[in-house]
């Protein structure tokens, strides 16, 4: 059951999204007529490697521009915004967790979370606490025992928790996670996903995880196969079949 949504608009709504995915050896068009994640809902989006899952996340985050269609986050059309406005919108309303975490090296765990608040600059009514207090509370909730240590000195598990804390720092409408468990074994993977889901739940953020790992399904409200939401599953499947493992494009 999804938790009570903070607003009536879905956390994420995709309509007629088209993006021509091209690389040296293959190209196909990602074509999604409709896809939505309700406020507070947790969704697992599965698909084979090379089917364009990461590309889809970058499109949803406004880091890539689609050829056509709209992506609405918390009711606003992400791609209608440009430049600094879109960056600011992404920082405020979207949290991202990457497979390799992409923490800012050379900064402490606390600083990594605080810089999300610095760059996202969420409005006071959404994050009324002082940035440092907010970051400390999140890190404590995620059981980071050394928040003042440089992130590169933390264990992989702790680093992942810092990445989760950073994604949630601005109380976003939705957290997008790309293969968050790829570097973990099966037992740790389901524990990590459970932590991610529970934290998002506690912070009232929707969660969209993309993964090739169908085993994660039980942790989510809903599971969706990418091939089931695209208009051209044949093309996508054919493209992914030729993709070399470990280089999903």
């Amino acid at each position: 059951m999804p938790v009570t949504p903070p607003s009536s608009a879905p956390a994420l709504a995709v309509r007629d999204l088209r993006f021509r995915h091209a690389s040296r050896d293959r190209s196909f068009t990602l074509d999604i007529p409709s896809f939505a994640v309700e406020a507070g809902e947790s969704v697992l989006l599965t698909g084979p490697s090379g089917s364009g899952k990461s590309t889809l996340l970058f499109l949803l985050a406004g880091l890539l521009d689609p050829d056509a269609g709209t992506v609405e986050v918390a009711g606003s059309n992400m791609h209608a915004l440009h430049g600094a406005a879109r960056d600011r919108f992404r920082g405020r309303h979207l949290g991202m967790v990457f497979q390799t975490f992409h923490l800012a090296l050379g900064y402490t765990a606390l600083e990594n979370v605080m810089m999300a608040i610095l760059f996202g600059a969420p409005p006071k009514e959404r994050v009324p606490e002082a940035p440092k207090a907010r970051a400390e509370a999140l890190l404590a909730a995620l059981e980071i025992d050394r928040p003042s240590a440089l992130v590169e000195t933390l264990s992989i598990g702790q680093q992942q928790r810092v990445a989760v804390a950073r994604a949630l720092a601005c109380r976003p409408a939705i957290v997008l996670a790309d293969e968050p468990t790829a570097s973990l074994d099966a037992a740790n993977a389901s524990r990590a996903v459970e932590l991610l889901r529970a934290t998002c739940n506690a912070e009232k953020a929707a969660l969209l995880v993309v993964s090739h790992d169908h085993g994660l399904r039980p942790s989510f409200d809903r599971s969706v196969d990418l091939l089931s939401i695209v208009r051209n599953p044949g093309d996508v499947a054919a493209a992914s079949a030729t993709a070399p493992e470990g280089a999903p494009r």
Binding site: A84, H102, E111, F119, R249
Partner: protein
Amino acid sequence: MTDLAIVLRSLRARTFSTAVTAVTVAIATALLLTLLSLRQAGSSAFLRGSGNAHLLVSADAGPLVSVLNAIFYANAPQRAIPFAKFNQIRESFPWAWAIPMQQGDSFRGFPTLATSPQFFSKFEPAVGEPWRFAEGRAFDKNFEAVLGSAVARDTGLRVGAELAFTHGSGDEHGHVHDEFAFTVVGILEPTGSAHDRAIFCDLDSSWVLHAHDRRERDGLVKHEHTHGGPPATTVADLIDDDRRITGILLRLPTREGSSVPAALQQQFDVLRRDPTITVANPADQIGKLLSIIGRVDLLFVALAVVILVSSVISILVALYNSMRERRRQVAIFRVLGASKGRVMALVLTESALIGLLGGAGGILLATFGTAVAASYLKHEVGLVLGFAVDPRSAVIVLALTVLLACLAGILPASLAYRTPVADELRPTA
């Protein structure tokens, strides 16, 4: 956490690169500042020496030569003026003072200057800085000598010591008047002028040396180099022809309501009508000299600016090299909501901060360096240079360094601006 904290962290994460780059900039900044202050010190050192004298009269070939000889002791003046001419000039106008000078002898290579006691009581080697005695007093009898500070330091002579002048400016040429011993009665404080390297005595004593030579040539006295006994020539033996001087320092009266420049020009023109003498305005001549030197040392300053520019390019190189590893970081900042402009500003700030750090270090280095150099020059060379970093040029050089650092940051900052976020963050192996 602020943007500045983000930048400071980034600088600290690359401590070695930051330090090396900042030190490079600091050395270049210090070099530029030192050259600038050396330039000012050199100019002001040249302005010392003629002090509060308004005009210099000599028989030298030209005004610049006469100033170089009389004020800077470059060479012994070649031609003399009869003392009668001094009296004539002195009485021609109500001068504040007129001081006769006779140069041409030396002691161990240090030039001598025979003059009147007013040289110490009225003349100031630098305006507003009258003579001060480190030891003893001015001469008031014949065959008493006063040593410039550099002479005392280099020869080790103290008050009470005896010395004999050499006719001519070198030790090898001329001969030593060792039958006439001068007693040191005073040692001067450093003035930062060429007078520090001179030995002073009264005119009569100097004239006696020359009268003795004349009498020797005429067969009136025998050439003798024996000590003891009364000298064969005394002041009583002087004839008018012995009484020659090589220069006259003049000062116009400075009264309320009278214009010194106008009177100066007027007296300058009057004196110039006399074809037997050369009249010079020392300040004008030194100004001309400095304008020649000024062009040369401007070249050094230009060179130092080039060095500063190339040191700032090292900031560009350091940042540019780090951009490869920082592109991922820039992409992370973008995901977190930082705009392209903001990440560009972060890199520019970082560049400017390295410039500021290096510039500030350079000011410290130059301040310390000039203090050490000034102390060395004063104690080892006897050169008193007002040799310190001028706060105004320090601020200008610092601003220049930061500005150049900002320019150097533009290329790395534009790399940050153009970082393709999605490509940087793809989970490729």
